[in-house]
């Protein structure tokens, strides 16, 4: 029996007449690095909002770490870490103030919160900016502090919404190494990204959502085996090719924008 940490059955979310997520089934096992992909407006953000307890599903079942989201949302929230879209930081605090505050919001003792704050700031190489408000951080620094805030309480699952967007190569490598270490120590990562090369290098499993429905959900190796791309015979198909073949984005637009 696989150790499932995220499990959804027939997850639906409607906004009035519009159905943003339409019967999504996801199963993510412990220590998986799961990449959740989809074109803009496919329902990625709505799904991740439901998985992290920000949005109630209109219908369906949602179980995280064995707890039912409709009954035990607070318990789930205390066991997961989230780097949401927009980062959701209290920007008028300094880095140490923010981390210490978030640690205590997750129920850490004052001593533990202070100790982990120091360690995380040193690890993320943010210690030299202790007296700076988060509002004055660069984009990469904000991503790092958001990640630190997501892991300070030692979560079992990490939900990362576009963690590499706007991050330079040095910071991105740093984040990737950290996430691998997290997986090695028993953690699970659920990640959304538009940078398919990054997802391909990091993730072991992929779920693709399009128009609110899951259109692919498997390990990268299995997805590669199941996809044939026109013109590609010997070299292995890339995730980008898999993605385009599944969501149908390969339309030839060479005849457009002639003035450019």
């Amino acid at each position: 029996m696989p150790d499932l940490v995220i499990e959804t059955h027939g997850l639906i979310r409607r906004f009035g007449e519009f159905t943003a997520v339409d019967g999504v089934d996801i199963a993510v096992e412990r220590q998986q690095f799961y990449g959740f992909l989809g074109p803009n407006g496919a329902g990625k953000s709505t799904t991740i909002k439901m998985l992290t307890g920000l949005l109630r599903p209109s219908a369906g079942e949602l179980v995280v770490l064995g707890y039912d989201m409709s009954k035990d949302a607070v318990e789930i929230k205390s066991r997961i870490g989230v780097v949401p879209e927009g980062l959701a930081l209290f920007e008028r605090l300094t880095g140490p103030q923010l981390l210490d505050f978030i640690g205590r919001m997750y129920g850490l003792s004052r001593e533990t919160s202070k100790q982990r704050t120091g360690e995380l700031l040193d690890f993320m190489e943010l210690s030299s900016s202790d007296d700076k408000l988060v509002a004055d951080y660069s984009h990469g620094m904000k991503k790092k502090i958001a990640l630190a805030a997501a892991i300070i309480h030692r979560p079992e699952v990490l939900f990362l919404d576009e963690p590499f967007e706007g991050v330079d190569a040095v910071a991105a490598t740093f984040l990737k190494n950290m996430l691998h270490r997290f997986i090695e120590r028993g953690g699970t990562v659920f990640l959304t990204s538009h940078v398919l090369e990054v997802v391909e290098r990091l993730c072991t499993h992929i779920g693709i959502i399009d128009k609110g429905r899951i259109v692919a959900n498997d390990s990268i190796a299995n997805l590669r085996a199941g996809v044939t791309v026109q013109g590609v015979h010997d070299s292995p198909v890339t995730l980008e090719q898999i993605f385009l073949s599944i969501v149908g984005g390969g339309k030839d637009k060479s005849g457009e924008l002639q003035w450019l």
Binding site: G53, V74, K77, G86, L89, F90, P96, R110, K114, L133
Partner: protein, 550 residues
């Protein structure tokens, strides 16, 4: 290849964009109350402009009738002070002047300079001042056409000087305000200036005037020096120079115009220099500021509340520490207390520098308490909006929104209590303890505080508003919340006044205390209900609130 576009076309496009933005703003006010409120504001402002303009017409008319410029000098001073001070005070706290944004488009420096100068005319204060100048001139024209035509150069040069002096000040401000630290320092300066003026005008100046009058013989030796300096000053202060340029011999008028022209050119030169820096992208960046390590201290643990609520209170206080406007709101009731208590009627002054009446304390105590609660609860009407995108963090954390709201209102309550204790100590020390009144005010304070904080819980989730940064210009609270809170305050003050009046009229001094005691548990229950309501609404309208606040 980009198509070359003429400066005229660029100006037309910019004007078009401004108009489109204005229309879109009107359309965005889908909730009619906001639109009605804005319309009312514009109508009231228009009426004020009309009324004051009529006053200026009359001043101009009488100046023309008398054939003297003394009245005109007064009007010039009023316009000069308002045009130079008010926009700077208001913009001085705004997060940068958006006009600098157009630098990114392909426009020449000369066109940028021209547009930035023109922009000075569309400021609401500049429009008012131009209207007043026109009103004065029309009044002058009606009474004395010769004088009016003779005054045209002076009026025009005075107008241009005001415009470019103001633009120069703004160009300077633009650079100061380009950093968050600069904006905060400016806000602190404005508040400190405003307080100092209040205290000086109400407390120190009357006493100083009296003291100077009593000791005028000691200063007689200064008068000849002052008489020598004054005529010189009148040739370097713009309103006086403009006055010189209206009547008198031709040489005096020509000299005045020449000085005004030199001043305008000087302002243009300085203004262009500052503007050139902005045009060249020389705006400071906060992220380049040097930084260092600080002592990391253990978080707070407050008595009687959980560690989470202690952390929320600590976070809220850290936020308030960095918000000059919040500190200002906290200081206002205290300053008002000082001014109210120490502002003695000068003519009855009999003892010391700070003498005060010792009539009953309950009235002023109650007035200051109302003021303290109403002013300080103002920011709580939108307590989730202050967190901006951080609001999402509350939802992600394993914490009930009820705890967040309690933490936030507890912070507001702590601050109110500090203010109330200081105000009460001041009033009781100066005016004495009122055996029935003082306890009534103390109980009423707690009832009032609970009531207003309960109302804040409700307003914060019904009309939330994202507040990225504090400014004097941008309101930190939705205007509908302000309207509802004002109505509630009006009803409470009316009710309490009625109770006090009945108590006094029927000779039952205990009545206000009895009513306050009756209402205290009721307001506590209302606060509890407000928590339930807010929590349910956050859950039900989660998507709407997220959209509005993050």
């Amino acid at each position: 290849m980009a198509v070359k576009i003429s400066p005229f076309e660029q100006v037309r496009l910019l004007a078009g964009v401004r108009w489109q933005v204005f229309r879109n703003n009107l359309r965005a006010k889908h909730k009619k109350v906001g639109l009605i409120w804005d319309t009312l504001t514009y109508v009231v402002l228009g009426l004020i402009q009309l009324g004051t303009s009529f006053g200026f017409v009359m001043m101009g008319y009488f100046a023309g009738k008398q054939g003297k410029t003394t009245l005109l000098l007064i009007t010039f001073w009023v316009i000069f002070a308002i045009w130079q001070l008010v926009p700077v005070m208001v913009e001085g706290s705004s997060p940068g002047l958006n006009f600098a944004e157009i630098v990114r488009y392909p426009i020449s420096f000369n066109l940028y300079f021209f547009l930035a100068s023109i922009y000075g005319f569309v400021d609401i204060i500049a429009i008012a001042c131009n209207g007043w100048l026109l009103a004065i001139w029309l009044g002058l024209l009606t009474a004395n056409s010769n004088m009016a035509f003779q005054a045209v150069p002076s009026f025009l040069l005075f107008l241009l000087l005001n415009l470019f002096l103001n633009r120069w000040a703004f160009a300077f401000l633009e650079r100061v305000l380009s950093t968050r630290k600069g904006r905060e320092r400016m806000l602190v300066f404005i508040f400190a200036f405003s307080f100092t003026m209040q205290i000086f005008g109400n407390v120190i100046a009357p006493r100083m005037g009296k003291w100077l009058q009593e000791n005028k013989d000691s200063f007689g030796w200064l008068i000849p020096y002052v008489k020598q300096v004054l005529p010189f000053l009148s040739w370097i202060i713009p309103p006086h120079i403009a006055q010189h340029g209206i009547m008198g011999p031709l040489t005096e008028r020509l000299s005045a115009w020449a000085i005004l022209v030199v001043m305008i050119l000087f302002c243009i030169w300085r203004y262009r220099k500052k503007l050139w820096l902005t045009y060249s992208g020389e705006i400071y960046s906060e992220s380049n500021r040097a930084s260092g390590t600080t002592d990391r201290r253990l978080g707070w643990k407050l008595p009687l509340v959980s560690g989470r609520i202690s952390a929320i209170v600590q976070k809220e206080l850290l936020y308030i520490k960095g918000q000059p406007q919040m500190i200002y709101n906290m200081a206002v009731p205290l300053f008002l207390g000082l001014v109210t208590i120490f502002r003695a009627p000068i003519q009855n002054q009999k003892v010391g520098f700070f003498n005060f009446s010792s009539t009953g304390s309950a009235g002023s105590h109650m007035f200051l308490t109302y003021f303290c609660v109403f002013i300080m609860s103002g920011f709580s009407y939108n307590m989730l909006g202050m967190d901006s995108t951080g609001y999402l963090r509350w939802l992600l954390a394993p914490v009930r929104m009820r705890e967040v709201l309690i933490g936030k209102t507890l912070t507001a309550a702590l601050l109110m209590c500090i203010d109330f204790v200081l105000i009460s100590a001041l009033v009781i020390y100066v005016k004495g303890f009122d055996s029935w009144g003082t306890p009534a005010v103390i109980v009423a304070f707690f009832a009032l505080m609970l009531y207003m904080l309960g109302l804040s819980n409700v307003l914060s989730v019904v009309w939330p508003k994202k507040v990225a940064e504090f400014t004097l210009k941008r309101k930190p609270v939705d205007q509908k919340s302000v309207g509802v809170a004002f109505l509630m305050q009006f009803l409470i003050v009316g009710f309490m006044f009625l109770v006090s009046f009945i108590g006094r009229w029927t000779n039952r001094p205990w009545l206000p205390l009895a009513v306050a005691i009756f209402f205290l548990p009721l307001t506590a229950f209302l606060y509890y209900l407000s928590l339930n309501f807010a929590e349910r609404r956050i859950e039900r309208k989660s998507e709407e609130l997220l959209l509005e606040l993050t």
